[in-house]
Every structure is written in C-alpha cells, then in structure tokens.
Amino acid sequence: MLNLILRRIAVAIPTLLILTIVTFYLMHAAPGGPFTSEKPLPPQVLANIEAKYGLNDPLWKQMVNYIGGIVTEFDFGPSFKYKDRTVNDIIAQGLPVTLVYGTLSFIFAVVLGVSLGVIAAVNQNSRFDYLAVGFTMFAQVLPNFVMGPILILIFTLWLGWLPGGGWNGGHWQNVIMPVIALGTSYMASIARLTRSSMLEILRSNFIRTARAKGIPERTIIWRHALKPAMLPVISYLAPVFVFMITGSFIIDMVFSTGGLGYFFINSAYNRDYAVMMGITLLLGSLTIFFNMIVDIIYGWIDPQIRY
C-alpha cells in the first residue's frame, strides 16, 4: 500500500514539473510582454521597469522565483491586465464558485449515475432498463455546452422558473442549472458503465454461489456485487474530474457564474498570461492530485492491482 502511494507520488511530481515548465515556457514564448502597449514606453524606462520586476533575468531564474513564490507564500504574482488585482485575488474570487457547483455536480453525477446503473442492471430488460439506456444514450450526445443553453431555453425563457445566469452568492436557484448542465452527460456515462459492469458481475460464479446459498437478492447486490462492480466506475472518476473542470469553463461562459473558467477564458482573450498561468497551475495540480487519490483508492479496493 505504502509502495503504491510512493509510486504514485513519484509520477505526480515530474508531471507537475513538466506542466509548470511547459506553461512557463509557452507564456514567455508568447509575443508581447506585460509592459508592451499601444503607446510604447521609452526604451530606457521599459528596461528599468523590466529590471525592477526581474524580467531581464534568464528564464530559469524567473521560473525558480515564480515557483518559489507559489510554494513559500502561495503568491501567483500580479495580473497583467487588472490594475488593482493580483492573481491570488482572482483565484480567491473564482475558485469557491467553481468548487461549489463542481462538487455538487460531481456528487450529482456519481450518486445518480451509480443508482441508475445499478437499478437498470438489476432489472435488466425491464421497461425501466430500456428507459435508462435510452436516456443515457441521449444524454451522452448532449454535452454541457448544448445542455446549458437547452436548460436556459426551457426553464428561463419558456417556463420562467429559474434565472438564466449569474451566481447571486450561490443561491440555489442559480446553482441548480449549472449543476445539472455540467453533470448530466457524465452521469449518463457513469450509469452506462455501472450498468454494464454490474451485469457482468451478476453473471459471475460467486454471485451464483451466493444465490445458491439462499442469500437474499438485496444483500447480494449491496454486499457482494456492488464493490467489484464499482471498479471500472472508480477508474473513470479521474477523467470525469478533469472533464468537469474543462466543463466548468463552459458553464461559466453559458451561465455567467463567474467561476475560475470565466477568468481563464477572459484572460485568454486579453492575453493576461499571469492569470492564465496561475489558473493552469492551480487546476492542473488539483487534477494531478485527484488522479493520484483515485489511483490509490483503486489499489486499495482491488487487491489484484499490484504495482
């Protein structure tokens, strides 16, 4: 177990390093600097400012400074575009929003997806099963950038039940549509995955033995079948997490929720490299961390996995 954890960490660290180097290099390969503007500064002034901010140092030194700032003081530096805000301020503003609806839709997708899959598998070829399979097929071809507008169309424009956007401090009316829009297609994938792996497990020998012993069906499903059936689902959770972060960009654009995605995409338009880099590194490390956790859980649940 310890071995597994150490191995995962051994992969995670170089990954994080490569991500940092690639981002840092890309940002510096980009045309223009933070002080380039329509009205060019006198070259001498520009040189002075650049010297002040250490922009004349060799690239590796700048990177070491930058990473040092993040690690020691959690300081992502100033924004290139917003006058009065640092990247930290932007993260502090956007991250809670993203985390709230991201976590909620993750829970929504997993809980509903697994339940739907299990019920469909247990009642295979019943009417409910067909309904569930049809629904999951349908939901999978409606990715979040389609789902969001459709929800707005129905619930805001036609029915007038929910506000079409905004965050409003996380009021439930503002949260509900982003959560559904973000979660539905992953919920469908999870349901499909759960259903097929549950069906496979229910046909296996040890379940037949359990049935032969006269264990009630309910106990068989909850006690014996569910855990092995969850394995493929758990390994799918890491990609789902990544897709949800990506998807949160879309949600922020569609619902104007003002999460990190909003700032990321805006800074992409504005070429605000500092903000882009800060958000990339933050969400990137979160992703890598989450992947690691999922791998470890997987190794813990499935004793057959040995690294």
């Binding site: 992969v11 995670a12 170089p14 990954t15 490569i18 991500l19 690639v22 981002t23 890309l26 940002m27 390969a29 980009a30 097929m137 999978q140 071809v141 409606l142 990715p143 950038f145 389609v146 969001g148 507008p149 707005i152 169309l153 424009l157 990544v242 972060i245 990506t246 960009f249 879309i250 654009m253 569609v254 990321f264 995409i265 992409a268 338009y269 070429r271 882009m276 958000i279 990339t280 969400l283 990137g284 992703t287 890598i288 992947n291």
Partner: protein
C-alpha cells in the same frame, strides 16, 4: 478386361474436384463483416453518417449563397425574414448577420468532420506504432516509454491546448496538434497491452527464428493482428475529437471567421435563441447530435463485430 474404376468416370470426378472452389476459410474479417452487417443499429448509423459526409461534400453545390456573404435584404430583420424557406434560398434560414445558414452548416460540417477523422487517424496511427514498439521491445525501453505516457496522461491537456491556441494563434493546425498530442495516449496503452500477449505467440517466435528484423516483425506481424482493437478504438476517438473541437470553438478559441464548425454554430445559435431564431441552433445541433449518435452505435457495432472474446 473390365477395370474396376472406369477411367473417364475417374477423370470426371477429378475435374469436379478441381472445379470446386477450395474450402473458404472464415477469416476474422469476413466474420466481423457479417456480424456488423447483422447489427441493424450500426448499419443504419453507417448509412446516416455516410449521408452526412456526402451532404457536407456535395451539399455546397446546391447552396444559393456562400458561407461568408451577407444577405443585405434580410439583415436587421433576421428573426422575421431569415426563417428557413425554399423560396428565399436560405434552406436552413440565416444567421444573426444575415449569412446563409445552409452554406455555413455545410462548411462547419466539413471542418468538424475533418478534425474528427484526420485527428483520430493521426492519433491512432501514432499511438499504435508507439504502443507496439514499446510492448515488443520491452524491458527498459518499454518502461521509459510508458512512464512518458503516464506523465503526459496526467497533464490536464485542455489548459495546455488553450495556452497553445493563445500563444501561437488560433488555427486548425494548432487544434490538430493540441488534440492530437494527448489522444494517442490511450491507444498506445491498449496496443502495448495487446502486443505483450502477442509477442510470445508461436508465429512471432517463428519470424524471429528465421531472422526477420525487429521492425519488420512489428510492422508485418504485430500491427496487422492489432487491427481489430485499433479500429474499435479509432471509431470511438472520432466523436471525442469532434467534441473537443466543438468545446474549443464554443469558447471562441477555435476556427476563425468566416470559417466555422459545429461548435461555433451552436455557440452562435445559443447566443440568439432568445430572439426566437430557434433554427440557428436547431440545424447545427441536429447534425452534431446525429453524427455523435451514429458514431456511438458504429463504435458499439464494431466492438461487437471485432471482439474475439465473442466468437
């Protein structure tokens, strides 16, 4: 004296035998084709997909307008005058700027389908070769190559892709590179796994014993035997590619005007749907979902047809 076996009768029999075709072997491929043809959903999907592809190639000849030309007659009153109609020549209506949606949908389909097919093809080719080489050579080379895949796989590529697009400018080539950079990883892993089990088979051993060079073995003997897996995986990769491109285009970081893609069109359509111009989202969405549906069924069908476990 009388021969027991009459000569001409014998000859006739020999002729018969010779004329009879040699017993046809049932190869994996004929089997797979039969099974695929028997799968109704997959066959329908194939035809529908084919129709969409043909439409995107030849549909442009029936367009009354080009995809960038603005119809000044309806500009400003698109919700009333820009509705889909045969009479006005805007078969799918017009978009917010008075451009012909029919021409734009066709052009967008071309871009999206191209990204899907070419992207998947490149990713699958590279991933297959990488995985086969890694698995066949094995040892330290294998572990280095696979560590690299692990690390690349753990990098959240979407950020890197957006960074690439911002830094090097938005164009289709960049999307190809960015999406292609990561999508070969999955197939490389799968192929490596398959190669590991293949490389100890007798026919590989025979090839090695007769002195066939390593790369010839990989190319001529390993890879052809992986085609089943590769095709299934490739068919699943195409919709992924289309989706990725759509997401990026939806965020406004994809193809540039006047070029469009399904993602761009859907994005534009969602922006204007509150004015009652439902067709602006309807038509792109219809093509997008139809093609994704088709690919899911085709992928399922191919997996059922090519999965040797099923035989």
């Amino acid at each position: 004296m009388r021969t027991v076996f009459e000569k001409d009768k014998m000859n006739a029999l020999a002729d018969n035998l010779a004329a009879m075709d040699t017993v046809k072997g049932r190869s994996l491929w004929t089997d797979a084709r039969k099974r695929y043809a028997a799968n109704r959903a997959a066959m329908v999907s194939t035809y529908v997909l084919l129709a969409v592809v043909l439409f995107s190639i030849f549909g442009g000849y029936f367009a009354q307008f080009s995809n960038e030309e603005i119809d000044w007659a309806i500009l400003g009153s698109v919700p009333e005058k820009g509705q889909p109609s045969i009479a006005s020549g805007h078969y799918f209506g017009a978009d917010e700027l008075g451009r012909d949606l029919y021409a734009r949908v066709i052009q967008g389909s071309q871009v999206s389908l191209m990204v899907g097919f070419i992207g998947a093809f490149v990713a699958v080719s590279f991933g297959t070769i990488y995985g086969a080489v890694s698995g066949y050579i094995g040892g330290r080379v294998d572990s280095v190559m696979m560590r690299l895949v692990d690390i690349l796989n753990a990098i959240p590529f979407f950020f890197v892709l957006i960074l690439l697009l911002v830094v090097f400018g938005r164009n289709i080539l960049m999307i190809f590179i960015g999406v292609g950079l990561v999508s070969w990883l999955g197939i490389a892993r799968v192929v490596r796994g398959q190669t590991l089990s293949l490389k100890n088979k007798e026919f590989i051993e025979a090839a090695r014993a007769t002195g066939v060079p390593t790369f010839t073995i990989i190319w001529r003997h390993i890879i052809p035997n992986l085609m089943g897996v590769v095709i299934v995986y490739g068919s699943l990769l195409v919709p992924d590619m289309i989706l990725a491109e759509s997401v990026i285009s939806f965020l406004g970081l994809g193809v540039q005007e006047p070029q469009t893609s399904w993602g761009v069109l859907i994005s534009e359509g969602t922006g204007t749907m509150q004015y009652g111009t439902i067709w602006q989202i309807g038509f792109p969405l219809f093509f997008f979902t139809t093609v994704l549906f088709c690919f899911f069924y085709i992928g399922d069908g191919l997996r059922d047809a090519l999965d040797p476990k099923d035989r």
